[in-house]
């Protein structure tokens, strides 16, 4: 059996999308699956990239789409890939979607995952399920192993998902619920995130300009 991971984050190697996707892919590899990964944001910019990506999808039994939620839905590059596949994919397949978002509540991925499910429906593929993680920035730039204790629950959920996927089953409801749990308590997350934005702006020497309004129109009072 063969799986392809499409990473839908423009942050590529350093993205939470990749960390989640690669962990899942490795689980399948250890069960004897052949696996490959592609970066959608790169592939979508050239027609060769798109062709290669579609070929990778065509030769796989399972597509894992792992992406960040942008403006409550999959990023433009992911929408573009789905639109392209809709017209061009000939054979059947199965889809697992993994969405991660910046707000702590994983419910911010709901529309993203509904869109993926409808995509599977429209191309006639089996829907293996949608896994949803909130507070994705907690993991930023780290693998799930490197993230240690904070990612324990996420790893456990993905291990369960792999067991189901390896047997061609839908990801169970309990696994989806497990993944959707708060990764850290919400108020701690918000305080930490706000401090991190200030720190980043200070490092760039723009903390005093963080509320700038470069497009303020004269008549707006």
């Amino acid at each position: 059996m063969r799986a392809v991971l499409l990473i839908g984050s423009p942050r590529g190697d350093r993205s939470t999308s990749r960390a989640l996707g690669v962990y899942t892919l490795e689980g399948l590899r250890s069960r004897g699956w052949e696996v490959e990964e592609r970066f959608t944001c790169r592939d979508v910019t050239t027609s060769e990239g798109l062709t290669d990506l579609l070929a990778a999808v065509e030769r796989s039994d399972l597509l894992i789409l792992s992406f960040p939620t942008y403006v409550d839905s999959p990023p433009a590059a992911v929408m573009r890939i789905m639109e392209t596949m809709h017209g061009r994919i000939k054979r059947g397949g199965a889809l697992l979607a993994i969405a991660n978002c910046g707000f702590i509540s994983s419910s911010n991925n709901t529309s993203s995952l509904s869109i993926c499910r409808l995509f599977a429906r429209d191309i006639g593929w089996e829907w293996r399920g949608g896994l949803s993680l909130g507070g994705g920035n907690v993991l930023a730039g780290r693998t799930l192993e490197e993230a240690g204790g904070v990612a324990r629950n996420v790893r456990r959920a993905l291990d369960q998902a792999v067991s189901a996927l390896a047997e061609g089953r839908v990801v169970p409801r309990g696994t989806i619920d497990r993944m959707a749990r708060n990764i850290v308590p919400p108020f701690i997350y918000n305080i930490t995130a706000n401090r991190a934005w200030d720190r980043a702006a200070r490092n760039n020497k723009v903390l005093d300009r963080i509320r700038d309004r470069p497009y303020m129109e004269e008549e707006q009072v």
Binding site: P68, Y70, D72, R80, C116, A200, A201, I210, R213
Partner: protein, 176 residues
């Protein structure tokens, strides 16, 4: 598409708004790089220099924003999505609690209403429900003061499009 565009244009003018129409297919817009530069490097300003910046100017200075798009899998088409992803700088990076949810504060004070007009080839219950949910989330997260969503079906009479869009605008409370 055209009847929906014309209907929204004429209703907004009747209500006394100046209307600017942005045709995304004529614009050069790169995909968002997810770098958060518009929050912590050049606040409010994307680091990419292309047509999205002019769109940002209109986006943050209009009292009504109408988003008109084919609905793909219950979402915005990739063309509209590319522009929307680039509007992140219209918000501040901070997380603030809003009831049970978390949202970002607006960068600009202007009160805005958002109107979503989705085009579908035919009625499709699941896609309609998903598009409504997405529109609602977008309106909440862009902190719109009012919003509405209408769907236009290509297999139905064109007058239906005008009626749906007109009702949508009225429902969003777009009167100045």
């Amino acid at each position: 598409m055209r009847p929906a565009v014309e209907a929204s244009d004429s209703v907004l003018r009747e209500m006394g708004h100046q209307v600017e129409t942005v045709r995304l297919k004529d614009k050069r817009i790169a995909q968002c790089r997810g770098c958060f530069g518009c929050w912590v490097r050049t606040p409010g300003q994307c680091i990419i220099d292309d047509d999205a910046n002019e769109i940002m100017r209109s986006f943050v200075s209009s009292h009504v924003i109408v988003l008109l798009t084919p609905v793909t899998f219950g979402g915005h088409s990739s063309q509209l999505k590319k522009a929307l992803d680039r509007m992140l700088g219209s918000a501040l990076p901070y997380l603030e609690r809003c009831g049970r949810d978390t949202r970002h504060p607006r960068r600009y004070d202007i009160a805005q209403r958002m109107v979503f007009v989705g085009l579908l080839p035919e009625r499709d219950h699941e896609a309609q429900v998903t598009y409504r949910e997405l529109s609602k989330m977008n309106a909440l997260n862009f902190r719109a003061t009012g919003w509405a969503m209408a769907l236009v079906f290509s297999n139905e009479r064109t007058e239906m499009a005008s009626i749906a869009v007109r009702e949508d605008l009225l429902q969003a409370g777009v009167a100045p």
